[in-house]
């Protein structure tokens, strides 16, 4: 009896204990994953999710994309033997520059959806986060449009139903103009949800949205206008190519968006915050270089940046890779990105005229210079702000208190050259026995990597902070994605194309006077060539050149695959359609001819570095990057790019 009782009791207890539902028993909150409701309840957590999305932005040139993302297009020479292919290839593959990251788009769409559904965030936080998500999504669609043309426009997270048929997820390509319209309308929709704060640079602000809108509208407008000249670069469905009739509308939008940042009747300080051109240092070249270095609140030019922080795990190796060899913090790590003479000679003279760097007089005799800097005298201050030239000893020194030791050898009285294949090498001069240095420590010597091979080093983005050139520390100079000067140039271009040349000249002269070009351009002097030129020199090495040349449909003309000779190089400077297919250099030589009045002076020679065996050849099929076969096999609705 007792036994029965105890068995029954045990059975009852078991039954009662098992009453818990299976689902409740198995449903244990995970400890290593934060559920959506929790994540979107705390602004700090949302910001960390957003931080990842910010980090995944795609830039063409970027300080953390590696130095080589600034190379190519004959604007510079890569002085690293493993990268010589940049100047040895004779065409670009159709896949070059493509991007198709719908994983990122999905994450952005999920972020937008989850943020919209959040219940515990304050209304202000919620709307700002939402606007930032939409900004990043629009910015990436813009990036895709620049490279791929019209792409599938997906604005909500797609979910597969596991029924074996995925065709309902296959979205065809939108028209190219639809993508630009989307970017513009998103920017308009979110601009008032974002803070108008000039000191907020690495998160989206009202000015960042407007700057994106202005650039996108300008791209769309010029594709519409100049695309008319290349009807073969278009698709019948409008996935590539924008009708010419839409040009004026887009130019107006580009102008209005830029004006919203610039205004109080175009004198500056519009509704987006107190943005203005950076004018701080008395030396105009140093001032120009400082735009890219100054991260304090004094810098009201930078609008939207990718920021870095030394000692906190987010740094880049741009300075390590590109610092001058003789001033390097890191032994043999230096000198990779060498601006070309093609770019250097494009910086105009202070009287607003274009001229080659004068190496020879009218009858072809070399010009002897007392100081190597004399040959660059009287040029646009942005030259010395962008490029380090041989022996630039302007006070204070341009970079880390040093002078770059760039010279290629001794030119002797009989016309022969005494040099070496080793930088800084010592050899005796003729009729002497004491060995002296016959090549500068920075080269140039053909094929000698990590020293300049064009006679120039890059200065833009180069960090003068002590230790920034070391691999271990790295540099924390920020990459400026949008800045105020670009908006002035956007406004100038849009007004010019709309026939308002007076306004165009006014906008352009603001940028030019900051560079020491104090003689204003008259409205009649503002031409298409001037617009192209101004963007090339102001925005050099900022990731613009490819997309600018593409949207003006100049790429296949400027990079036409024909090798350049010396007279090509020295003529037509400042013309938009000037061919630039190979990066040239300018090598200084010390003249050694005792007894001659020119003894000890300097002569310069234009040199095509011997590694440059290829040409830049931009084909019609390069205008829009190849959509790879896997993508098109997975979604047959995707049409091919033209001319591929």
């Amino acid at each position: 009896m007792k036994k029965i009782f105890s068995i029954t009791l045990l059975a009852i207890l078991l039954a009662a204990g098992g009453c818990k539902k299976d689902s409740a028993f198995l449903d244990i909150p995970p400890i290593q994953v934060i559920p959506n409701e929790v994540a979107f309840s705390d602004p700090a957590l949302v910001l960390s999710i957003l931080g990842d999305l910010y980090n995944r932005q795609v830039d063409f040139s970027g300080l953390d994309n590696g130095w080589s993302s600034f190379t190519d297009f004959s604007e510079s020479f890569p002085s690293e033997n493993g990268s010589a292919f940049f100047v040895q290839r004779t065409s670009w593959g159709y896949s070059e520059w493509n991007t198709w990251d719908y994983g990122y788009i999905r994450d952005l769409n999920l972020f937008i959806q989850r943020d919209s559904a959040a219940t515990q965030l304050s209304a202000a936080d919620k709307s700002r986060f939402l606007a930032e998500g939409r900004f990043l999504r629009a910015n990436y669609y813009f990036e895709m449009a620049k490279r791929m043309g019209g792409v599938p426009l997906v604005t909500s997270p797609l979910t597969y139903d596991y029924k074996g048929d995925a065709t309902y997820l296959q979205v065809p390509r939108a028209k190219e103009s639809d993508i630009y319209d989307f970017v513009i309308s998103e920017a308009e929709a979110i601009k008032n949800l974002l803070p108008a704060d000039v000191n907020e640079k690495s998160r989206a602000t009202r000015a960042a949205a407007l700057a994106m809108e202005s650039r996108a509208a300008l791209y769309a407008a010029s594709i519409a206008k100049y695309g008319a000249a290349t009807p073969q670069v278009s698709l019948p469905g409008g996935e590539v190519g924008i009708p010419a009739s839409m040009a004026a509308g887009y130019y107006t939008k580009a102008l209005n968006a830029a004006k919203e940042i610039i205004s109080i009747a175009d004198g500056g300080n519009g509704t987006a915050g107190n943005y203005s051109l950076y004018k701080v240092l008395p030396d105009l070249s140093d001032n120009f270089a400082a735009i890219f270095l100054d991260k304090s609140s004094v810098n009201q030019e930078a609008i939207f940046v990718e920021d870095f922080k030394a000692g906190a795990g987010k740094t880049h190796g741009f300075t390590t890779n590109d610092q001058p060899f003789s001033l390097s913090d890191e032994g043999g790590d230096a000198g990779r990105l060498d601006p070309s003479l093609n770019l250097v000679e494009a910086f105009e003279k202070l009287d607003n005229t274009f001229a080659p760097i004068p190496t020879a007089d009218g009858s072809g005799n070399p010009i002897y210079y007392t100081h190597p800097q004399d040959i660059f005298a009287g040029r646009d201050a942005r030259l010395a702000g962008t490029v380090m030239t041989p022996f630039d000893d302007a006070s204070p020194y341009r970079f880390k208190g040093g002078i770059v030791d760039i010279w290629a050898g001794y030119l002797l009285g009989d016309g022969s050259i005494l040099t070496s294949d080793e930088a800084g090498h010592l050899k005796p001069l003729p009729n002497t026995t004491t060995p002296v240095k016959v090549v500068g420590k920075d080269g140039p010597v053909n094929g000698l990597e990590l020293r300049t091979q064009t006679g120039f080093y890059i200065r833009k983005w180069l960090d003068p902070t002590v230790g920034s050139g070391r691999r271990g520390r790295g540099s924390d100079v920020a990459f400026i994605r949008y800045r105020y000067a670009e908006l002035l140039l956007n406004a100038a271009e849009a007004s010019f194309e709309l026939g308002q040349t007076t306004t165009a000249a006014a906008f352009m002269n603001k940028v030019r006077s900051r560079a020491g070009l104090t003689i204003p351009l008259t409205p009649a002097q503002v031409t298409f060539d001037r617009i192209v030129h101004e963007r090339r020199v102001e925005l050099a090495f900022e990731g613009h050149i490819l997309f600018d040349m593409k949207r003006w449909r100049l790429a296949h003309i400027v990079w036409d695959g024909t090798p350049t000779n010396l007279s090509d190089l020295k003529t037509n400077i400042g013309a938009a359609a000037k061919r630039s297919t190979q990066p040239w250099g300018l090598w200084p030589y010390h003249y050694y001819n005792p007894g001659n009045p020119n003894d000890g002076k300097w002569v310069f020679r234009e040199v095509l570095p011997s590694l440059v065996t290829g040409v830049n050849r931009f084909q019609f099929g390069n205008y829009y990057s190849f959509i790879n076969d896997n993508i098109r096999a997975a979604n047959p609705k995707i049409v091919k790019q033209p001319n591929q």
Binding site: P231, P236, T562, G621, D629, N630, A633, K640, N643
Partner: protein, 232 residues
């Protein structure tokens, strides 16, 4: 000891036995070759610049087998036997390839079974007729006719004609030691175009290779005359 010996030898034998079966395909061995022609006459283009694409269907993902034409307009591909489709993508070559009403390039169906020669008939915008290239006195001269083949609404003008010379057999706008251009607008008589280019000093070589190129407005690829070796 015995057990461990068997435990090793048995799987080893199995592995040897089963691996006797061939586990690989034979490499493709059927050659498809030919050239681009207009009414039987070969069309010369720039080496490696005019592509063609072969498609084989029925194997899942669809991607093209890419190739390009050589200087004298020939192509060749080693393939497996089977059914293929061949196209020249739009906008490629100094000629018109047949198109469908939708604007997509028309394809040629090929049933490959062993080696096959297939010439591709196209309609060039222009043909370079009777090219006469001569050398002497440090110069190379050319005399030729430019015959307009396409004369309907899609006709295009000549942008320029060029005479290229090079030390090697690869002669084009990208590969030359000297060239001379004549703009299309400066051509007085298309039936009598003459060009002359000075040969730079290339001692000890006493000959050059020369070709005439004709650039058509709005078309990327040039049409060339056949390569000739010229002693100057």
């Amino acid at each position: 000891m015995k057990i461990s010996f068997y435990s090793i030898i048995l799987p080893a034998c199995c592995a040897i036995l089963f691996s006797c079966k061939k586990d690989n395909y034979k490499e493709p061995s059927s050659a498809l070759s030919g050239k681009i022609v207009y009414k039987g006459e070969a069309i010369n283009v720039e080496n490696y610049q005019v592509p063609y694409q072969l498609y084989q269907f029925g194997f899942g993902k669809v991607g093209s087998i890419d190739g390009s034409f050589t200087q004298d307009g020939t192509y060749s591909a080693l393939l497996f036997n089977g059914n293929y489709k061949l196209i020249i993508p739009n906008g490629q070559g100094p000629f018109k390839w047949k198109q469908l009403a939708s604007g997509a390039p028309d394809s040629i169906a090929i049933t490959l079974n062993g080696n096959q020669t297939l010439d591709l008939e196209v309609t060039p915008y222009y043909m370079i007729r009777t090219p006469t290239l001569t050398g002497g006195a440090g110069k190379v001269s050319a005399l030729f006719k430019a015959e307009k083949i396409i004369t309907d609404a899609s006709a295009k003008n000549i942008e320029r004609v060029s005479l290229y010379i090079n030390k090697t057999q690869f002669v084009s706008g990208a590969n030359n030691i000297a060239k001379i251009d004549l703009a299309g607008s400066a051509i007085a008589d298309p039936n009598n175009i003459s060009l002359s280019v000075t040969v730079p000093n290339i001692t000890p070589q006493t000959y050059v290779y020369a070709r005439i190129g004709l650039k058509i407005e709005g078309v990327e690829d040039l049409i060339f005359s056949p390569l000739q070796k010229i002693t100057f």
